[in-house]
């Protein structure tokens, strides 16, 4: 094999690896949204802003008290859970109950919430870029592979690798929670048929609140995991909300396995797209996929919700 071909293979594999690692993180972001949409049919346009909140918590934890991001996960998860619970209980639930001329008031409400969150961050923390400069931020793991007589060198970005691992762990934990615990089963029941679930004695109001909290916690975790590798500023959450939708729609609402697949697909598409097609338009690809999947495969790539 010639060095040029080996070089091409190396580039391709590298891009794929980057895409998969990114995809793991995306899966985490999408999981929260998928739960919320699948269980409550609520569209949360503040999803990215929730991630931003978690990132700032992580940032301040590190800056003020030198708490390592992976450790601060232990704090971020419950805090974000509570924030989600509060938003659902005090803001979203009341709106769901009222009947108004403009449908989609619930969606608009989340737009308002997102605006408040990102602008509060702007007011209190300014627009300056922040970073969480952990020692291992640029640590890379190398792996040399022999291919057809040539050696190609693949590099794995350490923080992304850890993020991928933790994302899988959290995803697995969520899966077990949904399938093995009583609360998990109640969530799945409410997702399938809210009225029937209520008639069978499930406190759907409480389940809704818990689910939103879970969704917020998951996207918060993604934010914390992202903190070592991304610059942080108030608007950072903005592009992640559409991504969460794309993943949710690709994987089928409420479908945990689907969200993971969706995340990986999106991560790969962006990675491949940015290298082989065009850097500027890579986000556009996501949007187009989103609309196409909504129209032609409303139940996602994997089919109906199996939570």
């Amino acid at each position: 094999m010639s060095p040029q071909v080996a070089g091409q293979i190396e580039l391709f594999l590298q891009v794929v690896i980057a895409g998969v690692l990114l995809g793991g993180l995306y899966a985490l972001i999408g999981l929260g949204m998928s739960l919320i949409m699948g269980v409550m049919r609520i569209i949360n346009l503040a999803h990215g802003e929730l991630m931003m909140v978690a990132m700032y918590i992580t940032f301040w934890g590190f800056t003020l008290w030198k708490v390592d991001p992976y450790v601060s996960l232990l704090a971020v998860l419950p805090v974000m859970f509570l924030l989600g619970v509060a938003i659902q209980k005090f803001l979203i639930s009341p709106v769901m109950a009222t009947d108004t001329i403009l449908p989609e008031n619930q969606v608009l409400l989340t737009v308002g919430v997102g605006m408040v969150l990102s602008n509060l961050a702007l007011i209190f923390f300014s627009a300056n870029y922040r970073s969480v400069p952990v020692s291992y931020a640029s640590k890379t793991i190398y792996w040399d592979v022999a291919v057809g007589g040539q050696t190609i060198s693949l590099s794995f970005n350490f923080p992304f690798l850890v993020a991928f691992g933790i994302a899988l762990l959290l995803g697995g934990a969520l899966f077990l929670f949904l399938s093995r615990t009583d609360t998990g089963r109640m969530i799945r029941a409410t997702a399938q048929d809210k009225r029937a679930a209520a008639l069978m004695g499930i406190n759907t109001e409480r389940i809704t609140v818990i689910t939103f909290g879970l969704g917020a916690a998951l996207v918060g975790a993604a934010g914390t995991l992202l903190a070592p590798v991304y610059y942080l500023y108030p608007q950072i959450g903005h592009p992640f909300t559409p991504k969460a939708f794309i993943i949710t729609v690709l994987g089928g609402m409420g479908n945990v396995a689907g969200a993971v697949v969706g995340g990986l697909v999106l991560g790969l598409a962006e990675s491949l797209g940015s290298v082989y097609v065009s850097l500027g338009y890579k986000d556009a690809l996501g949007f187009v996929i989103f609309v196409l999947v909504l129209i032609f495969m409303p139940n996602g790539l994997l089919g109906k919700s199996k939570a």
Partner: protein, 323 residues
Amino acid sequence: MPKKLLFLLPLVLVAVLPLFWTNPYVLHMLILCMMWSVLGQSWNLLGGYTGQVSFGHAAFFGIGAYSAALLVNGQGIPPARAWLGLGLGGVTAVLLAVFIGWVCFRLRGPYFALSVMALSEVLHLIAINWKDVTNGAEGVLFIPAFNDKKYYYWIVLALAVTNFVCIKYVMKSKLGLYFLAIREDQDAAESLGINTTVYKLASLLISAFFTGVAGAFYFNYMGFIDPGIVFDTAKISVMMILVTMLGGAATLAGPAVGAVLYILVSEILRAWLGQGHLVFFGVLIIVIILFFPNGIVGTWKDRQARKAKGAAAAGVTTTGGGA
């Protein structure tokens, strides 16, 4: 007859205002008020009256602006090109609306809203990346045709009045009732003989047309386009919704009232808070949705209706259900 005079008199006053009050800042504020009134009314036609909530109307605003810009080369905007630009802005917005309608009306409710938003973001990205045509993220910069703001004042006033009269007339006609029927129950509307696809599209086209013209006006007036503004979901799309909701969706006066309040509040906040003043609008959206979902005009109308019902109940006899 006297009722029409009630509208005509303030209109005349508004029209002659710039002859007496020449403060450019005040004129600028009034121009923005009227432009946003057009934007609100246009969104309201599709969202409030037809029940199709779009989160991506910035697409039409932006494409209107860029269309007008494409007509111009050289340094300044010749007046003739400016007029042409207004028309072209409306036409391209309509063409875009045909495409967006064809794609997105297959979806209902929130999914329709999201898909329009997605396509609007795609346009945003195209505007930033297609540097040959749009000059990319740097935007477009020209010298406006007229020096004196009062000409723009009268142009946008004419636009606002045309827009208002058009929508008022539409809502009184068969078209308007069909829009309402679609909003209330799309499936029932279908079996009542309403081709919902066609009529939803009609609503979208009218809505997009005026939005596009407003976008072209924006370019002609400001002389520049920042793709990060004209195609922005938060600054344009969401604000169009806010203006309508604040004033009252599905009312004729609502968007106009909302527009004036929006500009007023915006200016005060910008001076006072500077960065992050949008936080107030976020809170406002939440408060409106939770407590005043029908907006200012809507809530006022509800109160009037309740008062009327109270008065009627005091003096009416129960009419039976049988025939």
